[in-house]
């Protein structure tokens, strides 16, 4: 079943939801939010797009293979633990850099870690979702 209204709306909603998910990711440190829920929202955005436009369109707009997104997420999360080793601290100690730029402020490895979680959750959800969706394909 193809709905023009849903298909049109989903194009705008996708962008909005993705922005919202990044917003959730970034504010996670101080307010409710974080990588996990951010990733889920992003996945929901693609899920909506997939419901409206079908699996091929969703895959095209995602551009990356969900499995690769999982791998990226894990890599980023692990990479975020390396600066602490480089700085000679205990493994996984958070390292913060004060950029001094207004609005951005301090940037630290926990954010990077959260970003990894974000990608990972997105990747996992989409892997499962897309695999299931492609089930009935010949």
């Amino acid at each position: 079943m193809y709905s023009v209204i849903l298909a049109t709306a989903s194009r705008y909603l996708l962008v909005l939801l993705l922005m919202f998910s990044v917003f959730l990711l970034l504010r996670g440190h101080n307010e409710p939010g974080g990588g996990f829920v951010g990733g889920l929202v992003a996945a929901a955005a693609y899920a909506l797009y997939f419901i409206a436009n079908g699996i091929d369109a969703a895959r095209t707009i995602l551009r990356f293979e969900p499995l690769n997104i999982i791998a990226t997420g894990l890599l980023v999360a692990i990479a975020s633990t390396l600066p602490s080793l480089a700085a000679g601290e205990q493994f996984m100690t958070a390292v913060w850099i004060d950029t001094g730029v207004p609005l951005i402020g301090k940037v630290g490895t926990p954010l990077l870690f959260d970003l990894g979680v974000y990608f990972l959750v997105l990747g996992i959800t989409l892997t499962i979702l897309f695999s299931l969706a492609e089930e009935d394909r010949p």
């Binding site: 829920v37 499995l67 958070a94 870690f113 089930e135």
Partner: protein
């Protein structure tokens, strides 16, 4: 990668690795010779007492030098020999792993570290035996070796842990002076038995010997390196290393002595009916390993001296002979000794090398093997009680070894030329250098024993017995009983060789009854284990998801409610009936949704009901001030519904599959789980929780974690390691789902 580019001459490149190690360690020789002990230590898991601590003393240096020297010969040799095989690059990786772990084994001071290396040698041995993995016998032998040595490794680990309970440390050097405490402890007998099982399986002592001849399936360089010169000596090394710490008691000495002696004789007898070059050598290796173990069991000064000389001599000549056997195989295409003969004209260098090594193996003056055998006899004769019996056993066993030597070292080269599958030719230079150098060393060590061996012997004895030997090694001690015995051995061996040709056919037909063949025990044990595993799998893993869930639920509830029931008197649950409007409304929604979920006859309705349930729970989180949880719950519920719909699409029409009795059972289980959870929550909330964690996290969140959202700071900073673990598990789960859905039998992508 490097291998591909330098395929032709890779042997030369590879050989630099062991040679570099050899000279590196040789440079420590003066230090060790002066009685110094070098230690290096890096903390690994200090809280468990596991450290990378290494120790270099006389004993380990001797082993290191043997390992690297023979390693160099074998690496070079394999450069040519392995060309016929596919995936030679892999071979070098395996054998490199082996050499490194073997070095680690003899150098570690920490018992757990040693155990790790111990297992690594088992694994690399497994990989190397199974190198021809397309042959079934290779795979079977590899598995057999792995199971036997791995099982022994587990026994060793248990022994190590028991030992830890007595000493409180894993460092070998730290219980140097604790012999009295250890041997008088209640746990001492199990420790000795477990450790010895470990050592005996590794060194292929009776009744674990059967894996070694089968391990001859490996390419010849591997047999030469792992299964004669180094890995099988690991067990011997362990016994020698632990001798001072936990030895000295009748239990230890007698077990070691008897096992060694039995292996020595038994293996020699078994060799009688073999005709394969490598199998013959393998049985003689077994016999020698038995002798070495027996010498450690005797444990006198002289015995240790004999042990040490014999160890070096054996490594040198057996490595050489294996390589020669490989050369013969390479050149002629057969390893059956009865089909070889008269090759001396065609392969002069190999003949010479083989002869040198063989003389050493037979114990002919003036090679190092002669000194070895002389001292062995002498140390046995010293024994009062067992002396006569053991010396006849030793002479017998050695006579058989002499016979084997005649077969392997001389038979192929002398006499009439016999037709072979390939036309024989002299081996290339790279295959000659290694064995020739080793054989020459055997001669040099024999001619100048004091220069080469004495110092290391002194230091090793220090490690084994913690006494100085002050015994001179000399090659000529005049005409005496020992020399007579040596001659007797040679004569007997020659006689056996002649006799064998006549009775061989009859002997080959005799096969031992299964009861006295440990390999039959092994087969039985493996078979039994497999059928038990099948039975267990049938019961536990029946393939029905609902049964798994039932088992999990019932087990949890029954176990946990037992605990709950026991502590029921301690708490009084005071129900709080002050409900707000929202809470009441939510409860109603939840109840209605649940009811709908159960009685609905359409799947879609059930899913919608499930979604409603999830969202209501999310709202509960909101009411109780957990916005993070609520947010996540909403997101997950949304996706859940989508997923369910996708799955639903694939399911057949709704059918009433379960019988009513099943439904009653399910309802009972579900209700009991629900009641149990409610009670647990009530129970938990009736305690005043210690708020220390809460205070710490709330307090530390902003200054240390630089964030005001405590939950998130905990997740990504304070307990980030946990999160890392969780996301890894999630990723693996996703891969599992992907594999389940995408990879189907039939190859549809």
């Amino acid at each position: 990668m490097l291998y591909k580019r330098f395929r032709e001459n890779f042997g030369w490149i590879a050989v630099t690795f062991p040679l570099f190690m050899f000279f590196g360690f040789l440079s420590r020789y003066p230090q060790i010779a002066a009685g110094e002990v070098i230690r290096e230590s890096v903390l690994w898991v200090p809280s468990l007492g596991i450290n990378f601590s290494f120790l270099l003393d006389g004993l380990s240096l001797s082993f290191v030098l043997i390992i690297t020297l023979i390693g160099a010969a074998v690496f070079l040799y394999a450069g040519v020999y392995m060309k016929a095989y596919a995936q030679t690059g892999r071979f070098y990786v395996y054998i490199g792993i082996f050499m490194t772990s073997m070095l680690g084994l003899v150098l570690s001071d920490n018992m757990l570290l040693m155990f790790v290396f111990w297992e690594l040698t088992s694994i690399s041995s497994f990989l190397l035996i199974g190198f021809n993995h397309h042959k079934e016998s290779s795979r079977k032998s590899a598995l057999q070796a792995l199971l036997v040595t791995g099982g022994g490794g587990l026994a060793l680990l248990s022994g190590i842990i028991l030992l830890y309970r007595i000493t409180g440390s894993f460092e070998i050097s730290s219980f140097y002076n604790m012999n009295g405490i250890i041997t008088s402890h209640d746990l001492y007998p199990p420790i000795v038995i477990l450790m010895l099982i470990g050592a005996f399986t590794k060194s292929a002592q009776f009744p674990f010997h059967f894996w070694l001849p089968n391990a001859m399936e490996a390419p010849t360089p591997v047999s030469a390196y792992l299964h004669s010169a180094t890995m099988v000596k690991a067990g011997v090394y362990l016994i020698a290393r632990m001798n001072h710490e936990i030895g000295g008691t009748p239990l230890w000495q007698d077990t070691v002595l008897v096992t060694g002696a039995v292996t020595m004789v038994f293996a020699a007898l078994l060799a009688f009916k073999q005709t394969d070059l490598k199998k013959l050598l393998a049985y003689s290796t077994l016999s020698v390993l038995g002798t070495l173990v027996m010498l450690l069991g005797i444990g006198s000064k002289l015995a240790i001296k004999a042990f040490f000389i014999y160890l070096i001599a054996h490594s040198l000549y057996k490595g050489t002979l294996f390589l020669v056997a490989g050369t013969l195989d390479h050149a002629t295409g057969t390893r059956d000794v009865t089909k070889l003969g008269g090759l001396r004209k065609l392969m002069p260098m190999t003949t010479l090398t083989a002869a040198l090594a063989s003389f050493s193996m037979m114990g002919v003056i003036p090679l190092v093997g002669f000194i070895g055998k002389e001292t062995v006899y002498k140390s046995i004769l010293e024994l009062e009680y067992w002396g006569t019996f053991l010396i006849s056993a030793a002479v017998c066993a050695n006579a058989f070894v002499v016979m084997i030597t005649l077969f392997v070292g001389f038979k192929p080269f002398w006499g009439a030329i016999l037709p072979t599958p390939k036309s024989p030719h002299e081996a290339p230079l790279k295959m000659l250098i290694g064995p020739a150098v080793l054989a020459m060393l055997g001669l040099l060590f024999g001619l100048f024993p004091n220069f080469f061996i004495s110092t290391m012997l002194e230091q090793s004895a220090e490690s084994i017995l913690s006494e100085t030997l002050s015994l001179k090694i000399s090659i000529w001690e005049g005409f005496n009983l020992v020399l007579l015995l040596s001659f007797l051995t040679l004569l007997l061996g020659g006689g056996l060789y002649l006799v064998r040709a006549r009775v061989a056919d009859r002997v080959r037909k005799v096969s031992l009854p299964a009861l006295v063949r440990p390999s039959a025990w092994y087969d039985g044990a493996v078979e039994g284990m497999l059928s038990f595993a099948r039975l267990q799998t049938r019961i536990v893993q029946n393939g029905y998801l609902r049964n798994y869930i039932i088992v999990i639920m019932v087990t949890t509830v029954s176990l946990a409610s037992f605990v709950l029931y026991q502590s029921v008197g301690e708490v009084s649950v005071a129900p709080d009936f002050s409900i707000t409007f929202y809470e009441g409304a939510l409860a109603c929604i939840v109840l209605v949704a649940t009811l709908l979920l159960i009685i609905s006859r359409s799947r879609l309705k059930s899913i919608v009901a499930l979604g409603v349930l999830g969202f209501s729970i999310g709202i509960i989180f909101v009411i109780y001030g957990a916005p993070d949880l609520a947010l996540t719950a909403f997101a997950i519920e949304t996706l859940n519904v989508i997923l369910f719909v996708l799955v639903l699409y694939r399911l057949p029409r709704f059918l009433k599959l379960s019988r009513s009795s099943n439904r009653v059972r399910d309802a009972l289980i579900a209700t009991s789980v629900g009641v149990f959870m409610t009670l647990t929550v009530l129970f938990a909330s009736s305690f005043e929780l210690s708020s220390e964690l809460k205070r710490f996290f709330s307090g530390a969140s902003v200054p240390d974690g630089k964030g005001r959202n405590v939950v998130n700071v905990i997740l990504v900073d304070f307990r980030a390691l946990d999160t890392l673990g969780e996301i890894t598990v999630l990723a693996i789960a996703a891969l599992g789902v992907f594999a389940l859905l995408k990879l189907k039998p039939g190859g549809r992508k």
